[in-house]
């Protein structure tokens, strides 16, 4: 994507096998190359690779500099098929199926550059720091003043003086400043044209001959804009995403798996978060975030219920609905249909409020389903925690 937009990048080859990596090394014609784990998460350089079967540590660092063909072979072997845990992947890490073998360059200095939307300023924000390399989170936390920031006026776009000033803030001048100026303009265009949520170049380097090169990039997209980017379907690496989360999204649900044991089925993102919070407040641990969205039908409720029950950690379910667009009777019917179809072996607490709550409760009460009806979220949380034998 960057290369196509004319952004300075190093030559490199995507590989999925050790053989690929070796022939990439041969073809690049650079004695020193970088062998990079490709997963959709940052902090790869400081990550650790583990065997997915044994859980044993295989290698420190998901990005390695290889000084020989043998190095390339060793690093590829240690990376491919193993699990990379970084500061951003969480404990479970991610299996690495892709490598990038990249030609070396004589680096004079490493910088950090990121483009994102600043929600407070309601504008695109470009951040850059002379402290490039691996630990930008720490730079942001410890020395936020080392981060230089430029906000793009939505009306005027990124202006020349902004590019120049940011370059000068990084201490660039002459050819390097000119190279930075050109690169930043192209990167911003990439950001806007592709509806990115974040473009992070880390490191951005100045080579010894004063060229500015994007050495490594992490890009995330604004999913709301997917309707105008059919090409994203090709980029998306579904294998990496949690299967249930992908299926949920296809159904119009928001689902995030968590580590607890109480499944939640809620309408509304805020209420879904609050439900998790209150479960924890009363001593339980939520197994998931699940927002039905607005006005889900019986089928969607049904599917949501199944996704929750797929998680074998789930020992109980709390349904919490405050009907606005969502009708409580539809949820009740959806829940009943699910239970009928796949059975239910864990306790179920249901709280229905708002639009058609009386009809909903009547449907539940009229069924022979073993459930506990409650009036408020707090009651519901207390009840489900009690039922699965947690503290309360």
């Amino acid at each position: 994507m960057f290369r196509k937009a004319g952004v300075n990048v190093l030559d490199g080859v995507h590989c999925t096998s050790i053989e690929d990596a070796l022939s990439a090394y041969d073809s690049l014609g650079s004695k020193v190359v970088a062998v990079k784990s490709q997963i959709h998460a940052g902090g790869r350089g400081k990550g650790t690779l583990y065997s997915p079967e044994s859980g044993e540590k295989v290698m420190e660092g998901g990005v390695k500099i290889a000084f020989s063909r043998e190095d390339v072979e060793l690093y590829s072997r240690n990376i491919l098929g193993n699990k990379l845990v970084t500061i951003q992947t969480g404990e479970n890490g991610k299996i690495v199926n892709n490598l990038y073998v990249e030609a070396g360059c004589a680096i004079a200095h490493e910088y950090y550059l990121a483009i994102l939307v600043d929600r407070e300023a309601k504008a695109v924000l470009i951040m850059a720091s002379t402290e490039g390399g691996m630990d930008i989170e720490k730079v942001a936390e410890n020395t936020p003043e080392a981060l230089h920031k430029v906000w793009v006026d939505p009306a005027a776009g990124l202006l020349g003086f902004q590019k120049r000033n940011l370059g000068m803030d990084l201490g660039l001048s002459g050819a390097a400043l000119k190279s930075f100026f050109g690169l930043l303009g192209k990167l911003y265009d990439v950001f806007v044209k592709n509806d990115c949520a974040m473009v992070e170049i880390n490191p951005l380097v100045r080579s010894e001959d004063d060229e500015i090169i994007a050495l490594d990039a992490k890009v995330s997209f604004d999913e709301n804009a997917s309707f105008r980017h059919k090409e994203w379907e090709d980029i998306r690496d579904l294998g990496e995403e949690d299967d249930a989360e992908v299926r949920a999204k296809e159904l119009g649900l928001s689902y995030v798996k968590l580590d607890g044991d109480i499944g939640c089925l809620v309408n509304g993102a805020g209420l879904a978060m609050a439900t998790m919070d209150v479960i924890q407040l009363y001593g339980g641990e939520p197994a998931n975030f699940l927002d039905l969205g607005g006005g889900a039908g019986e089928d969607t409720v049904n599917a949501a219920f199944e996704i929750i029950l797929e998680d074998h950690n789930v020992k109980g379910i709390l349904v919490n609905i405050f009907g606005g667009i969502q009708r409580c009777d539809v949820v009740a019917n959806g829940v009943l249909a699910s239970v009928e179809r796949i059975g239910l072996e864990v306790p179920l607490v249901i709280r229905l409020s708002g639009t058609n709550y009386k009809e909903g409760r009547a449907i539940i009460d009229a069924s022979d389903l073993q459930t506990y009806s409650v009036d408020t979220l707090a009651e519901g949380a207390k009840k489900i925690v009690e039922l699965i034998g947690g503290e309360s």
Binding site: Q88, F227, V266, L271, F322, G324, I325, L377
Partner: protein, 307 residues
């Protein structure tokens, strides 16, 4: 009194011929909202019969405002066209009336579209945008009232509590909580959970502070961004009425988007703990559980000598 809308507000529905638009236009009329027309390009001249009221459809907002003298609009158009709809409404209100309230319900508008649309609206200072991705705004009346959005009307009652929230359903919880202690609402506003939106917490707090009808405020935030912190700091300086606050997402893991496009803790920023702390240090009464909001509100009212 109330803020921004009242029982006399005349409301247009943009996207009225879509299924969502038709459904909610009906619900709004049912509640008592004065829906004076609808807009769907290419369907101008049609007439819809909604809950016994005949509603004329116009091709564009300029025409519709000129024909109806509307002072508010609500948008139910799909995300691809929603930013355009916001800008059309903003420009039409600005040019024809110099002011107007635009409520955008649509979820899923691209962030960069909203960056552009919000900048566009901000250049038309008489125009207020609420949303997008929000339940809307409601001012309950003695009978019925003015509901502009998708919230269930029947749970509300006219009263003295102003409610502002990022979340839809949590707003309803807050409403139910006020009702549980016998309090009604002046105006309830869902500002929406998108990262880039129109009206923010501070606008609402300022509105409530200046509103005679409002005597106390409930403010519901969620993880992501620093809008809650900024609002708390502002409130400490500018709001004399008691505020009860809650923040959703204390248990949300970092780096994961919780449904709302804006609800994400990134780079260690935007956590519920930080927001609760900001509330406390600003003298805001904190509810740790939405089911507690009523009880905390009762305490706040009592301490302010209002109960």
């Amino acid at each position: 009194m109330s803020i921004w809308i009242n029982e006399h507000s005349k409301v247009l529905v943009q996207g009225i011929t879509g299924s969502q638009g038709t459904f909610h236009a009906t619900k709004m009329i049912e509640y008592g909202t004065d829906i004076v027309g609808g807009v769907t390009p290419g369907k101008g001249g049609q007439s819809l019969d909604l809950f016994g009221k005949s509603v004329t459809v116009y091709d564009g907002m300029y025409e519709a405002i000129q024909a109806t003298d509307a002072n508010a609009s609500v948008i139910y158009v799909p995300p691809q066209f929603a930013a355009e709809a916001i800008m059309e409404a903003a420009d039409a209100f600005d040019q024809i009336k110099g002011e107007g309230v635009v409520v955008c319900i649509t979820e899923g508008i691209p962030t960069l579209d909203m960056v552009k649309a919000v900048a566009y609206v901000n250049q038309r200072p008489g125009v207020r945008l609420i949303g997008p991705n929000c339940p809307g705004i409601i001012t309950p009346g003695i009978e019925g009232g003015c509901k502009i959005g998708i919230m269930p009307g029947h749970i509300h009652k006219k009263g003295r509590i102003g409610i502002v929230s990022k979340s839809g359903t949590l707003t309803y919880e807050a409403v139910a909580q006020t009702m549980s202690i016998g309090e009604g609402q002046s105006t309830c506003i869902g500002i929406g959970g998108d990262p880039v939106n129109g009206t923010g917490f501070i606008d609402c707090l300022a509105g409530f502070q200046d509103d005679i009808q409002t005597e106390a405020i409930v403010m519901i935030g969620e993880i992501g961004g620093t809008a809650e912190e900024d609002a708390a700091a502002w409130a400490a300086e500018n709001v004399t009425k008691p505020i009860v606050g809650f923040v959703a997402g204390a248990t949300a893991p970092p780096g994961k988007r919780m449904g709302h496009a804006g609800a994400i803790i990134s780079g260690g920023k935007g956590t519920a703990a930080e927001k609760f702390a900001a509330f406390k240090s600003a003298g805001i009464y904190v509810a740790n559980d939405p089911s507690e909001i009523g009880a905390v509100l009762a305490v706040a009212l009592k301490e302010a000598g209002l109960l």
